[in-house]
Symmetry: C2
Subunit: 242 residues, 2 copies
């Protein structure tokens, strides 16, 4: 049985303010929870139905068996799914350095689904470093965590002063812009930065001025724009194809 | 002022049953509404704030000025945006035929955001025909309509017996499968079919057996899968790049 206070504490993790205060976040569903349990995230507590716990006998972290009704109350999902985990956000002990291969830079990505999907796609293409402007949606937003489908355990996501970092980068800076080189004909260096802009406004001037290789996904039909996640996916695919 | 019954009628269009009965659907926000007003969709009614109507003096369809409170009540969006339109679903008078260029086939796409984004991406790449299995999410679901960002006015979406159609197709059938040819090295014919499968289960056997050109987006990193919309976007880009 969960106490009222426990329920309130878990529910409060849907709000950034409480995530910041506690440095915790939630993740849900057996697939995602299993990946986080196997990762180096510090687990605070697992709340699970009996069916999940039966399959996870010998679970080595603090856990509570809960009812479906209780899960519905603490879940942030429309359709709760067996288990909810509370874990600690990662503390960083290193300073930022550009990776030897591709680093993805996100400028003002607002939609949590886009953000999570972009991190998942980066993980697919072996891109392990993503740097976000401070006004990107927060990594530990439950919708972002869910949309990463576990890639949150493998991709290193930084929130940094991107304009400042990029001004001093000594590697090629590619960016998704209008009137750039056709992305399907571009030769990409093995080490580089790819900048993807905000869903509506694109890449801000302070960052755009440092892009020395603008690339474009040619428009053949009539849609006004491509979704930021789709654009990121296509360019990441072309950058890592060798 | 909207009557209680008017409000109820509009709200009911969030449910498939009522959309089927009335053959109507809703679309919201000035950009999308403007595109539908310019298209050949039959408009039933526009419900708009004074601010929208001022910019659309001389609007030639039935309209009602409403308050922000009323818009909040009829809107399906978390953040209502100036205007909501009710239009008639398209009635089809022609029978299905494969297009001269690329036709996209969707097998059991469940997520409305994915569905709308895929239609928008097809539109970007000049793919004007999308054929869906009956168990794909419905085109006129409000979340699908919004996610198309206006491409619903330009892309022809069919719900058909896809396995039957594809069995008799005399053009190349490409499909996103594991262990196919590397999509970045594939030569695509100008006319063809691209099959994208369900988010979790992929492409069902009755359809998969007719795929004669399986293609794969190579996995370099560790994500278990790619989002269906991202996969569709990358392959559509490669198919239409000439």
């Amino acid at each position: 049985m969960l106490s009222k206070n426990e329920i309130k504490d878990i529910q409060s993790l849907c709000h950034k303010k409480h995530r910041d205060e506690t440095q915790c976040f939630i993740a849900e569903g057996p697939k995602l929870v299993d990946e986080i349990l196997k990762s180096d995230f510090e687990i605070v507590h697992v709340y699970a139905l009996a069916s999940y716990l039966q399959k996870h006998a010998g679970i080595k972290v603090p856990f509570t068996e809960i009812s479906e009704k209780e899960l519905e109350r603490i879940s942030a999902l429309q359709t709760p799914h067996q288990v909810l985990l509370v874990a600690k956000q990662k503390q960083r002990s290193t300073t930022f350095a550009w990776q030897q291969n591709i680093t993805l830079v996100l400028d003002g990505i607002q939609d949590p689904g886009n953000m999570g999907t972009i991190i998942r796609t980066a993980d697919w293409f072996g891109i392990k470093q993503v740097v976000c402007t401070d006004d990107c949606v927060e990594l530990y937003n439950p919708k972002v965590v869910q949309a990463t489908m576990g890639s949150i355990t493998r991709v290193d996501v930084w929130y940094e002063d991107v304009a400042e970092l990029i001004a001093h980068a000594k590697i090629p800076v590619y960016g998704a812009l209008l009137n750039g080189e056709n992305v399907f004909d571009t030769h990409f260096e093995k080490q580089g930065i790819l900048v993807i802009g905000n869903e509506g406004k694109g890449i801000r001037e302070q960052i755009r001025q440092h892009i020395n290789h603008p690339v474009t996904i040619p428009k053949i039909g009539d849609a006004e724009s491509l979704n930021a996640g789709i654009a990121a996916g296509i360019i990441m695919g072309m950058m890592t194809r060798h």
